[in-house]
């Protein structure tokens, strides 16, 4: 899936024989093996008639932070006998780096930003995997930056751009990224050492030689493949990563033309209804929605779901029916709210057991056990009980005390044991009771109110209805997180009449949603709403 920006040039190879040192900057995160890689490069140079020098910055920068390792090398020629040691720089000069190795995609961006990677000189070898930064990880929604932007920057900032997921290649070979990147360096042929000369250095090392060589080989081949011209098949404006690029084209077209083919017999009627009553753009989402609701409760619940979205279709005048599409998404997500029954259901499924086993990387001779960390709040228990009982227990002091005693320190359940599985299995079996539960009634009410709000807003201001629809995104998580999200959602809904008086109410709601997503404490939203803190 990668293309080269420019043909491979031989000029960088010949430069090594002139009196200019070859320079290499390795950008890695502390603890990733950047130091090992730099040591290998120095070793292969020294073993093959070169002077080589390697420096890095020491200290706490190496505790998971971004770090630069820097290597220079120069051949020992007749004018430079052993005694005549060259003066090599301890720091890279921007614009003068021959090879930049980045162990991660954002680090390649950092190399470009720091001027190490330039179009006239640099061969950029980058691993396309992402190690997300703290702001990307702690965002309350999707805080990921655009990987494609980094790929494009790499193309525009390098003479050659060799890229692959070298981290995955290393993991697949039970090794670390330094080995697969060393393979890529050897394949790039900018440093004038053969594959065998590089492999000899690994063989001379201590442990994990076989795994390192396997990862080296994978990295070597991936680097060669990376520079073979192929057509860039990327679809869409912003796939944060390949696995995330959405449903396949044939599934989408099937959802539009024959949604029944995507569901089982129980949902055929619903699917036919999607085909006849709903706009094309929303059909895939609706198919997923009916399956989700039916799995969550029953077929009747899926029908109810379609009834709800149908109310939106009547009034939707937004371009591409984007209101209907998002209403189809968020109505389904809301209707399948996370309660104890749903959690227990998913935790007991076979697919989940298989996934956990695979993820544990256990071989067949090893055993895998799974333990859950549950901390049910009193509300989560009363929520699943029939409304009158739930309401009564919620206010019962003795019941509160009992629940506190049991759950205060959290409950650990071994789902892989007979007892633990039985508990969760029985919980999941409470599904038929859900319709009569306290929370079910409350949630259905909230959903209908929200749909009604959308229906009332859509004819006058489709964009406003769309923005209000997206606010459902705020309601997620469990416990306090859920309560905070719901509070933020309610505050924004209550603000709609005020927003409608402003020149651009839709944008106002969008800004408020952004504020709610920017800060866990709700302070940013309060400020945006103009409330006193």
């Amino acid at each position: 899936m990668t293309i080269t920006n420019s043909p491979v040039s031989a000029s960088s190879i010949t430069r090594a024989s002139s009196a200019r040192p070859l320079t290499m900057a390795i950008l890695a995160m502390g603890g990733e093996g950047g130091g090992v890689l730099a040591d290998w490069v120095v070793a292969v140079a020294e073993a093959n008639g070169y002077f080589a020098q390697n420096t890095s910055v020491a200290g706490v920068a190496q505790r998971t932070g971004a770090t630069v390792y820097y290597v220079e090398m120069l051949p020992k020629t007749s004018e430079s006998p052993e005694q005549r040691e060259p003066i090599l720089s301890t720091m890279p000069t921007p614009g003068e780096v021959d090879i930049v190795v980045a162990s991660e995609l954002m680090e390649s961006g950092r190399a470009i930003q720091r001027g190490f990677c330039t179009p006239d000189r640099t061969t950029l070898i980058a691993s396309t995997n992402r190690v997300y930064s703290m702001p990307e990880r702690t965002a309350m929604g999707d805080g990921r930056i655009d990987s494609q932007g980094l790929i494009d920057a790499g193309k525009n900032s390098s003479k050659r751009f060799i890229r692959a997921d070298f981290n995955k290649l290393a993991i697949d070979n039970r090794s670390v990224i330094s080995a697969s990147l060393f393979g890529a360096i050897a394949a790039a042929q900018v440093i004038p050492f053969s594959r065998e000369q590089c492999e000899d250095i690994i063989r001379g090392g201590g442990k994990g030689i076989e795994a390192s060589l396997a990862a080296f080989d994978a990295g070597f081949n991936a680097a060669l493949a990376s520079e073979r011209p192929v057509v860039d098949l990327t679809i869409g404006s912003r796939p944060p990563e390949v696995e995330d690029s959405g449903p396949a084209a044939e599934v989408l077209s099937m959802a539009i033309n024959n949604p029944s083919a995507l569901v089982g017999p129980k949902l055929t009627q619903c699917a036919e209804r999607i085909h006849s009553e709903f706009p094309e753009q929303a059909r895939y989402m609706l198919v997923e929605g009916i399956k989700r609701c039916a799995e969550y409760q029953d077929v009747k619940y899926a029908e109810q779901y379609l009834d709800r979205v149908a109310r939106i279709v009547q009034v939707d005048s937004t371009p591409d029916n984007k209101l209907t599409l998002e209403a189809a998404r968020y109505t389904a997500l809301w209707m399948t709210y996370e309660d104890t029954i749903r959690v227990a259901f998913h935790k007991t499924r076979k697919v989940r057991f298989d996934r956990v086993k695979e993820e544990s990387r256990a071989s067949d001779s090893e055993m895998v056990q799974v333990r859950e960390f549950l901390h049910p709040q009193i509300e989560e228990i009363t929520d699943t009980l029939p409304t009158p009982i739930g309401r009564w227990l919620l206010n019962s002091k003795p019941f509160q005390w009992i629940v506190f005693k049991i759950t205060n320190k959290g409950i650990k359940i071994q789902t892989s044991s007979v007892w633990g599985f039985t508990v969760l299995y029985l919980l999941a079996k409470l599904r038929p009771l859900r319709r009569r539960s306290l929370r079910f009634g409350i949630e259905q009410n909230r959903i209908d109110n929200w749909i009604s709000t959308l229906v009332s807003l859509a004819p006058g201001n489709g964009e406003l209805a769309y923005q209000v629809c997206l606010c459902q995104q705020l309601i997620k998580g469990y416990g306090d997180t859920h309560a905070n999200g719901l509070r933020n959602f309610t505050e924004i809904i209550d603000y709609i009449p005020t927003a409608e008086k402003s020149p651009d109410p839709a944008n106002k709601i969008k800004v408020l949603r952004g504020a709610a997503l920017s800060d866990e404490t709700g302070t940013a939203l309060k400020v945006a709403l103009g409330q006193a803190l």
Partner: protein, 751 residues
């Protein structure tokens, strides 16, 4: 896991919620990086080629100089020098060299007192400027009376990229106490030579000598030709058995006044003579042109690279522009400066950092001599900040363009000299700034300090926010996201002291201070805890006890739990604070118990008890633990023994992508990933293979009542027959029920 202090319980309880128990009797723990193999090179005799890192070269230089004793305190960039010396104890013993891990830089500097009355060569090392700050009391006294034996202070100058401290120069210390400052060219031969020459200079001028190693020089890989190691000519044993004293060397009137006169009348001229005779400073192409560059030795390679880029030098240092290389940056040798400037129109001084001490000095030299050579420096080069190749190349280019424009081919300038908005510049914007986010250092995967701050964050949700004084050490990473805890850091071991003003008796709120075990033993016990007891300060002090001086690379301290070779360890922190008068003190032997930590914080912040409250939060540094445990685990698995490996996971079906779990952790292994749910947009939380199963995710899920998506996977290697029997029953039972679940779903999804 909360215990009041019990001596016999003072070993690792268990680390990580379910980590294997370890009572490490007789286990020898070394620092994070072992140099056990490399130190063998220290035995090399004359004429051999030594290859390795800068710090190893320094050690070899010490042995070649006949050093009698060495001390120091770890800290980047010279931590590894201490580790090398520790790992080289056998070689040191063979050569009668005494080495100790000093309690602080002040201790190390005071150790040099051994060279005052005896012809003993001694060396100490520490991080600078911070270590030199701590050492300066002893250094000033040492420099006043002067030395008989050579005294060398090897300072790791933590300046520029990668530095973790305030940006200052050690040069000021050399000037104020009159110690000579060496800043040799960054190659191993020069560094080793200057270790040896440093001792000679010290003895020739009765003055302590500082050898400055720049950050990158310490980790510089290179080679040099060795000389034989030398035993000290005079030993510590001989000194102890023949006590000497000379009251004129003691800093007390009237001698102290005499010392000041000696410094300028005797020691300075002696040093100048030695430096000139031994040609410690270098002249390159001295008369080649009518301009020249004066530079600090440590910047030689950078300046040469700049000249290379302009076509004015080659990789072997054959500069066409005259260079005067100050391998000794203090004192400035007036005669050499005047000699270099003679017949030159202009000079560029390349002096890194501020204030511009050398520039002022050389200006005075030229002015007094009536020399009219123009002196450029910080007018063409940056006034502050690291002298990177980019900064130096720009400055050198401007200088040559001004005086010798014909020497440069303006058609072929290096890209770096162009303005940043010029498309030819390497800094021309090619990547959107928002795509490259900062990646500051943080807590490692499995770090036992992370749960302390998770617990404090949770406690503060209930009892409100507090003034938090931070300290120096890994725990300072708390100031960044996701914890955002800690407002000031005043120095090593000074976390408690820096909250001492906030002692308002009319406030219900108390302050919180953090301190590491390293800082505690360095000085925090007296400067912080003793001070708080004496002044009846109500603060809560959290001593983070991870059993090592961890941020500097895992060196042992007094309270380390392992039995260390040649060191006395296992001295509990709680006993020390109680000894100094603290009444309320608790030791948490497992920081991963987040809910207990949180409740303990709440108690400490609300108890009626007066005076300082000290919590010792104890769990072993995971880097050190994994370094020991990982091979041990692999060995057990290989031997067929039952071993349980743990890791955590997140169920993608139930994770809603709100990331509140990440906001109270920040663990590198707990990250985000694509959401497999076709209806959801936000990425889900996910646990990477690098998870070490520390248990924090599970504890957080409980303590913060987060979400039920977390689970722990236990992989049992070499399961017992009982494990296998259980597994058989479970698989049949669970498989049968799971079939029922799937049956229920038939007809919903397409077959």
């Amino acid at each position: 896991m909360l215990t009041s202090y019990l001596p016999h319980a003072y070993a690792w309880g268990h680390v990580g919620a379910h980590a294997p128990r370890l009572v490490n009797e007789g286990i020898i723990v070394m620092a994070e990086r072992s140099f056990a193999n490399e130190v063998q090179e220290l035995r090399l005799g004359a004429g051999a080629e030594f290859r390795g890192e800068g710090i190893l070269a320094v050690t070899k230089g010490l042995l070649q100089s006949g050093v009698a004793y060495v001390g120091g305190y770890q800290g980047a960039p010279i931590s590894h020098l201490m580790d090398v010396l520790g790992d080289a104890h056998e070689i040191l013993e063979e050569l009668d060299v005494y080495f100790e891990n000093s309690a602080s830089e002040a201790t190390a500097a005071a150790m040099l007192a051994a060279s005052v009355h005896y012809p003993l060569r001694g060396a100490v090392t520490f991080k600078s400027t911070v270590g030199t700050n701590v050492a300066s009391d002893a250094l000033a006294n040492l420099a006043s009376g002067g030395v008989l034996g050579g005294a060398l202070i090897i300072i790791g100058e933590d300046y520029g990229e990668g530095s973790s401290i305030m940006q200052e120069r050690s040069h000021a210390f050399a000037m104020k106490s009159q110690m000579w400052l060496l800043d040799p060219r960054p190659n191993l031969t020069a560094i080793v030579d200057f270790v040896e020459k440093g001792f000679e200079l010290s003895e020739a001028s009765s003055t302590p000598v500082m050898l400055e190693l720049r950050l990158r020089s310490c980790h510089l890989h290179g080679s040099f030709i060795t000389r034989d190691n030398k035993r000290p000519q005079f030993t510590l044993k001989e000194a102890i058995e023949n006590p000497q004293r000379d009251v004129s060397r003691v800093v007390l009137p009237p001698s102290s006044f005499t010392h000041e006169q000696e410094k300028v009348k005797d020691r300075w001229p002696a040093a100048v003579k030695f430096i000139q005779e031994n040609e410690l400073n270098e002249f390159v192409a001295e008369k080649n042109e009518n301009i020249g560059i004066i530079l600090q030795g440590g910047l030689f390679n950078t300046v040469n690279r700049s000249l290379e880029l302009l076509g004015l030098s080659d990789p072997y240092g054959n500069s066409q522009i005259p260079l005067y290389v100050l391998n000794v940056t203090y004192p400035i040798i007036d005669q050499e400066v005047l000699r270099f400037c003679e017949g030159k129109d202009a000079i560029l001084l390349v002096e890194e950092g501020q204030p511009d001490y050398i520039e002022q000095n050389i200006n005075t030299v030229l002015r007094r001599a009536g020399d009219t050579t123009a002196l450029h420096g910080k007018d063409l080069l940056p006034v502050a900040g690291e002298y990177t190749p980019a900064a130096v190349t720009k400055g050198v280019t401007a200088f040559i363009q001004k005086y010798l424009p014909s020497k440069i081919n303006s058609e072929n300038l290096p890209a770096i000299v162009f303005d940043n908005d010029d498309p030819r510049s390497p800094f021309a914007p090619r990547v959107a700034p928002e795509l490259v986010q900062g990646r500051p250092p943080g807590f490692c995967t499995g770090c036992p300090e992370r749960p302390i701050f998770a617990a404090l964050k949770l406690a503060e949700r209930e009892v409100g926010s507090h003034i938090v004084s931070a300290d120096i050490g890994c725990h300072l990473f708390s100031i960044n996201a996701p914890f955002n805890i800690g407002a000031t850091t005043m120095g090593y071991g000074l976390g408690s002291a820096s909250g001492s003003a906030f002692n308002a008796k009319d406030s219900d709120k108390r302050t919180i201070a953090f301190m590491g075990d390293g800082g505690f033993w360095h000085n925090g016990l007296t400067s912080g805890v003793g001070n708080a007891v004496f002044n009846e300060n109500d603060q809560l002090l959290v001593v983070v006890d991870n059993a090592y001086s961890a941020a500097t690379g895992g060196q042992d301290v007094l309270s380390s739990r392992a039995e260390a070779l040649n060191r006395s360890t296992n001295h509990p922190i709680e006993r020390a604070v109680r000894g100094i008068g603290v009444k309320w003190s608790r030791t948490m032997t497992n920081t991963f118990k987040v809910a207990e930590m949180r409740d303990l914080f709440k108690e400490a912040l609300t108890t009626k008890e007066k005076g300082p409250k000290v919590i010792v939060a104890q769990s072993e540094c995971t880097l050190n633990r994994e370094r020991r445990e990982k091979p041990a685990r692999a060995k057990k698995i290989k031997e067929g023994k039952r071993v349980v490996r743990e890791r955590y996971g997140v169920d993608p079906e139930t994770c809603t992508g709100d990331h509140s779990c990440i906001r109270i952790s920040g663990c590198p292994s707990l990250t985000i990933g694509p959401n497999p749910d076709p209806m959801r947009n936000d990425p889900i939380a996910t646990v990477l293979d690098s998870c070490v199963g520390c248990g924090l995710c599970g504890e957080n899920a409980h303590a913060a009542a987060l979400c039920p998506s977390f689970y722990r996977t236990e992989v049992i290697y070499n399961p017992s027959w009982w494990d296998k029997a259980k597994l058989g029953i479970r698989q049949r039972y669970i498989g049968w029920l799971q079939k029922g679940i799937e049956k229920q779903l038939i007809g919903i999804d397409a077959a």
